[in-house]
Symmetry: C2
Subunit: 697 residues, 2 copies
């Protein structure tokens, strides 16, 4: 019962239940430390910073005012030495890639505009110069970028090409006569678009363009281009642009469009780490394959996806802290007595709405920590093989879609769970949701990213069978056919049914068993991939058009397989984390939460498990019941579980999360109690009528 001893009595909503002695308790401090992860110290520093009013979003500013404020905040970050961790030690950084992202993610709770504008300046613009450029570029531009003397753009996306970067149409054509590249926008669709810092602040830009020299297009490369005169702030000759105007959120960032009309830049402005052009125009690259070269250059962008994954988790945590706190205080409807209304969190539906999202937030958080460590291993050079980079790419492409969609879903559910109060900007749900909306489509559209994951899953699957002889493959095909036969006859389902018959309890144990959940989740991914691979077998022998059509007919299934894979990764990360929870009570509660996550996934895809004979009808019917029992078990620990996130009032900054509602409700109940005690309460007409009817009979 340390939970009751450790915490101020005023915060506790529920009296200790009769069976309290048997209740496990959450060690909030220890769990909080575990959640902070490997870069706990940096996260704490960043949270201290994010708690300062200077960095907070002020609601209701015009987008012009908001932009100005955020630009000023970027200077504040520089002054507070909080944004240079990834840069080389030689230039005042600390070569700490993981720590840099950890600190960056936490800024989202101050103002997502601030986070993303910092990400544009140092995570994209600066990072491109660092990773794609060489020593001369670093010396020339990084100091100004780091100090914000050169605010800049990462000019990749075009109006006509978002996620398909390989197809951008801006060209940089080498002119040996002048030793210059000519950067050019051939048509309107090739304007750079949605570019942060482009509308106002950007003096320089890393512009991505098709590198053409001696009549050959060597694919997309990055070029440093000066955009504006630092004094007049006017565009330099040949450069033009437009303001993207107001957006659905993130209005502290001046997104805009850029176009180039035969803009000449020195040859040496090519960021030439992975591809160079000599004075004669001869192209050379340390990476022979144009495809691999392209993916290597783009691979440096993965940190954007990694950090959005972390920021999405942080925003979900803040929202759940506010909504769950409020739900323990707010009372509505008096179902169980005439005088006392229930607190919202005692309603089953409210528990399901908030606890399933709490469980997913924990899962996404643990998965993010693994992703961040993987990222750090690659970028620090500790584990930096091609395979490591590919795994990192796939992991980021899998997790970022889930966590960013989850954040939007959680912010909305929390806002609705707080009713009209949730809609007031003072409670921040709507503001955070508006800002995070675009996280679902930038740094890689979520749907496109999941397709990348699906392709990787298919490739791995094909690789598994590439080296085996035909006999094995044939047996595999037979296995598949048998699988189909099982669907047809329902044999497996019937077999399982017989085993379960009359034993709901046994079925429930199997479902809450770790191995049971793992088997179900893993089997689904494997089977979906195998089925898709079978359906797509022979695509290579078809014409490109027919192959594409066949692929398209299975696009939904492929995306669903990728999502199932990503969910499994989250579940595994959550399960790994259980082992790191030393305190038994904490581990017990976390295990319930992990079970809730796993069973919610199984419930969401229950029809698949049933149709494929993985669960009997009988067992399937226990999933919902077991989830409901978990909700009841988790209920007493809900506040501890959100307190462990470690966000204070200066981070949450939601009026509903401050305890004000509890004061109001207590005041109201005290009023009615005293009225009843004094006998001054008016009699309810209904009671009067009931009495009269009683007297009559």
């Amino acid at each position: 019962m340390t939970e009751l001893v450790d915490r101020p009595a005023g915060r506790r909503q529920r009296p200790a239940p009769a069976a309290a002695a048997a209740q496990p308790a959450v060690d909030v401090a220890a769990l909080g430390e575990q959640l902070l992860g490997k870069w706990a110290t940096i996260r704490r520093q960043a949270r201290d910073l994010a708690a300062r009013p200077e960095l907070h979003k002020i609601e209701g500013l015009t987008h012009t005012e908001h932009r100005a404020r955020v630009f000023g905040q970027l200077k504040y970050l520089v002054e507070n030495e909080s944004v240079h961790r990834a840069f080389p030690e030689s230039l005042g950084g600390s070569d700490d890639h993981g720590g840099n992202i950890a600190g960056f993610e936490e800024l989202v709770v101050a103002d997502p505009s601030l986070q993303i504008k910092a990400g544009v300046q140092w995570g994209l613009f600066g990072s491109a110069v660092m990773h794609l450029g060489t020593a001369e570029h670093h010396a020339k531009w990084l100091p100004g970028i780091m100090s914000l003397e050169i605010p800049g753009c990462f000019a990749m996306t075009e109006t006509g090409h978002g996620s398909d970067v390989a197809s951008i149409a801006t060209t940089a054509t080498y002119d040996p006569a002048t030793d210059e590249f000519v950067v050019h926008t051939p048509f309107r669709a090739a304007w750079k678009d949605y570019i942060g810092n482009a509308a106002n602040d950007g003096l320089g830009a890393v512009v991505f363009a098709q590198l053409v020299t001696l009549g050959v297009n060597h694919g997309v490369h990055a070029f440093y281009v000066d955009l504006r005169d630092p004094d007049t702030r006017e565009f330099l000759p040949g450069i033009g642009g437009e303001d993207d105007g107001i957006k659905g959120g993130l209005n502290g960032i001046d997104n805009g469009r850029l176009h180039f009309t035969n803009v000449r830049i020195p040859r040496t402005n090519l960021l030439n780490r992975y591809g160079d052009v000599d004075a004669e125009g001869t192209y050379s690259s340390p990476i022979a394959s144009p495809g691999r070269r392209f993916f290597t250059m783009l691979g440096t962008l993965v940190q954007g996806r990694v950090s959005l994954d972390g920021a999405a988790v942080a925003a979900s945590k803040v929202a759940l802290k506010a909504a769950i706190q409020y739900a323990t205080e707010r009372r509505q409807f008096n179902a169980s007595s005439h005088t006392e209304e229930e607190v919202l969190l005692d309603y089953q539906r409210h528990q399901k709405r908030l606890f399933t999202r709490l469980a997913t937030t924990y899962a996404a958080g643990f998965a993010h920590e693994q992703l961040l460590q993987k990222f750090d291993n690659v970028f620090s050079g500790a584990h930096d093989t091609d395979e490591d980079r590919q795994d990192l790419e796939t992991l980021a492409a899998a997790l970022k879609p889930l966590s960013t969609w989850h954040a939007l879903d959680t912010l909305q559910e929390c806002r609705e769970a707080c009713g009209g109060a949730g809609f007031l900007i003072e409670n921040r749900f709507a503001s955070l949701r508006a800002d995070l909306d675009v996280y679902a489509t930038f740094e890689g559209d979520n749907t496109v990213l999941l397709q990348l994951v699906a392709k990787r899953l298919l490739a791995d699957y094909a690789k598994e069978f590439r080296s085996v002889d035909f006999g094995v493959l044939a047996r595999y095909v037979v296995g598949q056919a048998t699988g189909t036969a099982i669907h047809r006859t329902g044999l497996r389902q019937v077999a399982q049914f017989v085993a379960d018959s009359g034993s709901v309890q046994k079925a429930a144990i199997a479902l809450r068993d770790e191995e049971g959940q793992r088997a179900l989740l893993t089997d689904r991914v494997q089977t979906m991939v195998a089925e898709a691979a079978t359906a797509l077998r022979g695509t290579g022998r078809l014409s490109q058009e027919k192959g594409a059509a066949l692929f398209n007919r299975h696009q939904n299934e492929l995306i669903e397989a990728a999502q199932a894979h990503a969910e499994l990764l989250q579940w595994e990360a959550f399960t790994d984390a259980l082992g790191d929870a030393a305190d038994p009570g904490t581990r017990t509660v976390l295990t319930w939460l992990r079970d809730l996550f796993g069973l919610s996934l199984i419930e969401k895809n229950l029809s698949w498990y049933l149709m494929n004979g993985r669960l009997s009808m009988q067992r399937g019917r226990t999933v919902g019941e077991y989830i409901n029992r978990l909700l009841v078990k988790i209920r007493p620990h809900a506040v501890d579980l959100v307190d462990a996130f470690g966000y204070g009032d200066d981070h949450v900054r939601a009026a509903v999360g401050t305890g004000a509602e509890r004061e109001r409700q207590d005041e109201a109940r005290a009023y009615f109690r005293s009225q009843r005690a004094s006998g001054t309460a008016p009699v309810d007409e209904k009671i009067l009528l009931a009495r009269t009817a009683g007297n009559r009979s």
Copy 2:
């Protein structure tokens, strides 16, 4: 092939397919007329108005500027005689309740703030005076309310009580000594909150309070209270308040808080149609039962829910028009050839994202038209029995949650389907979504409304068995037990499986069969209600606390049953509408869309159908396949189906929906074609490498 002849060639995206002769065509004009429904003329007038720039939302205003603009727009509506249709002819209205709502709904496409502020003034404040007041009140206040001389509030919700209106704590206590009511706020939680017009504009208010006279509380009644001095605009003595500040959306409305400290109003300010107090303080009412009286008074509020249902459908239509138009123009990735990229709408996933929501929008639109006609029948007095009113309440409580959630989901999916462009405010998705967010919780929280529906379903179910003898009830119970037995043995599923064996085709026919869909959807509702009723049987014999706990353990199931019921109503409305489509081609396409709606519902709840033996594994597996086939069938008609909504560019006002993308894509393709033709295109390094490799081998 009239579709190809009727429409400007420039708008057509796809060449006529080879089998074009067999393709049905949509008669866009006729379908558009059908969608306009019974009040087509008024909808057209309202759309003409909504197309005017004077009424459009200007993005980026501060909330203060936005409020001022919307207040001015309300005057414009008065001048254009578009908001008085529901008021009595004697006062210049036209006693047209259905037409009034139809016209009101269309305003959402101009600016949702304008719509809701008009709703506050005339639909809530004015309507309360009209429906709850009597002739003297009408004469005294309605002219000023109609002309906007008296902007006013509908002061019902309190900080501590939202959807549970019966529990509001503001009191109006009769003082026979002065012939006055004393309106009083006993504590902070009883402040009126989220009240439109309260922060600035409201001069008067209809205040809901517990009517207390001679020591008896007669429950919630409505009182007319002057709030501010019309000259100084200061609160009158005893009245205070606060501005709710910026909100997640609808910032053109000045929501605020109000509180009353012993504010005295004349006894005759009680809006006394359903309950009156004489000079001596004696209470009287034409409705003896306090419960029925309360629901009768609140029943006049149903028009708010009706109109939100319609407005949510309108917003969904506008979003789908823009996103589907864009998806026929925007190209991304060249899966099927080296030179031509696919338009987004040819991707299966994109079709599934947009067409399932298109189908739901049609269903919600047809269901709304039935709701509106029901509403008009009741409020015009044509069919105004207690049963009619109860049915209307239930129908509105069922449909409003589904359509408002659907609008948010659709706006978000459309925004994501347009990528980064979707996030720009110029494309309106984010703006509309922000404004419509609160539709999910105001005028009755969606979750609470669905519980009202569930209670009605349970009550109807109980009624069905009330009058039958015990033998029948016993048989019914046996029937239920058999149902359980079927789950246990899987008998029904096995039986169905045997019938389907080896006949996917037959299963598919049954699923796309109207009667097949109806049977599945209806059966699910009936079974869920029966199961819940069985589980809750005997609640009455338990203590109130135990009864509430039992109810709470089934809260999720009850809400899901209510949702299933509402979805069935939408499906039935869509099916009814098929009969009204005279043109065979239109009917064919609409039938595909109805099937898509029905099968999407079945797919969403597939695990239920499987677990309960309603579908075999075999048949279950055909649902997804059949949905995919429907997507392909609907694809050629998608633009016709959104054009039939009848919203022009002045309503949609989304840059992505204007055809600009098509121009950009055409320009880009023309550029590359001409480059290829002239031989000036640089050679792709990949192709060069392939050639070199070819020469070597």
